[in-house]
Amino acid sequence: MGGGATDASTAPPYSLPPSLFMPEDILFCVDIGPESGRQMRVSGPKGNNVLTRLDAIKQALLLFAHAKLTMCMDHRFAFSYLGSSFSMVKEFTNNIKSVAEVVRTLTTPDVLSEDVDITKLFEVANCEGNKSRALGHLFRVVLIYCRSSVWPQYKWPAKQKTFTMDVVYLHDKPGPDNCPQLVYDALGDAAEQVSEHVSYIFETGQGLTRILFRHMCILLAHPIQRCAQDDIDMPKPVVKRVLPGGGDGTMGEERAVISNLFKH
């Protein structure tokens, strides 16, 4: 475990100033195009389980909702999907059983879709965002996208930022027949254009569920309490601290060494 100064040392230290807390209303938009049916890579002894991207996404949604509700019972979730077009599934709920029921209904359609447009998603987000704001809630979109060669189109006014959008991008390894890097860049641009607060975008081409789950957990971060994506310093390792060998350190010295070790 190395020490030394890194990016995070330029970021201001974490502080929790007094402010009102806004419970979140989070609209998930799940890409259920054909590529969501691709298999995840299953490592370990349980190799016989066939898990599609959509299966992993469904599990990740339950994980997210449960963790968020454990933090605060007032957060709420709504679900929508992106097939050849955008479609709402269910309005907001903070009941984990309802969440589980809705998530269970998400399935991959057989329809082959070329272009995909998320203007409707933004329109719904804008409208719902106003309702959430009236209730003292913060509205957020989490887009989970799976296509390696097609990025979503949208028409949205440049300065209109009435909600925040995070993106999780699951894709194939880059090759001659796809362009995940271009798709990633387009998704990032879209998120930056529409987002009112700090938005995060994560990608994985490895197909490992634990990477997906880890990304989803970082997205648990409340947008108003976030740092910039470059300054993210978690998850931090929770492992035995390496103390300096030889000599008696004072309490103060020991502490100084420890905090150096954790700057990364």
Partner: protein, 381 residues
Amino acid sequence: MAPHPPLPPPIAAQLNHLLAYSPLPFKVEQIWSGCRNGRYSDRFTLLIPFCLDYIKWDVIFSAYHPSAVPDFIFSAEDVDFNPLLEAHEKEAGANGLAVASPLVDWNYKDPSRLLNLVCHLRDSYVSYQKKKAEQVDDERMRFEISTVLARKGTEIFVASFPDRDEVKFTIPIPDLEFNKLVTPCPWKQEQKIYLQASFVVAKGYTTTAPVPRLKLVSTQDLKPFLNVDDIKLIPWSDEMCMLTYLSDLEVKLNDQVVEAVAGVAKRRRFIEALSPFFGRPLEADPVFCRRASVLGISGVFTFLVHFSIPLQFPTKQPTLKLESVQHFNLNGLPIVSSPINDYPWSPRWDNTEMAERIYDFLVDECLNFKKYCSEKIPATQ
């Protein structure tokens, strides 16, 4: 509430306005129709907050005449509560014409009229109970009642029985001004603490002064900031009277409030001290600083740690809960540990040391938890 046909729009407007704009927390217990199989409901039971309890009044409209002023049916115990007669007697003296104006002035098109009327009747009820209290046949009680009634906002409730009267006071503690103490103020309604004092006054000759049963009650939303159940009340002694007791109580409560404000700051600093060890918390309570959640990793095992910080922090240590990111139960929900609060702790440590010690504890504990999760359900990789 049992399902019921809808209220006609003018009546619904009156009830909705009352529930939305009342300064007190009125509730509706049930709504029903005056006719069997009626198309519309036109009656409801209102729960009127009084003396930290509720009294029930039935409000009787008519679906056939929705513009008419409603009738009220008061509680069976309040047989001699007659607000119209009182108004009649009061006004008759003044101008010879007896009217209770909110009833005569009724205008169904103005949705605020019902709220106005109910508040008016409630004020009459407060006076009615005060008069009942003044008739309690005990010189000592009458003294207590007269001194306490002078305090603004006091309510009295008297229940009479053949052998005794039960007199209950609810006295708001003044000048606590919670809504100004916490900035920004998270409370939409004013937060208050009340002293509830219940006396049982035996009828007939008695030498002993009644000893009250005392209780502190607060508005519900105050609990994350200050829990009155934790405050030990000064015991009542023979030389006391309500006024002196209240005055000592006010001093004590002011001290508690100062401590509560300091408590928020202490908890805030503790949450901030978590970050060098655990990374930036995913989410923390920025108002009362009662909770924070962080994401940790040990090898390839990722997990959440939820901190729940008690009001008695740092005397009492935070409770921890671990949640796996990779292990799910049969319902597909992540596995969570039971609450942990028996790890090494001292209130004398500074915040950094507290965070450090929790970190060290979790190094082994997260591996125990991982083992527990693996044994419970196979991990999905």
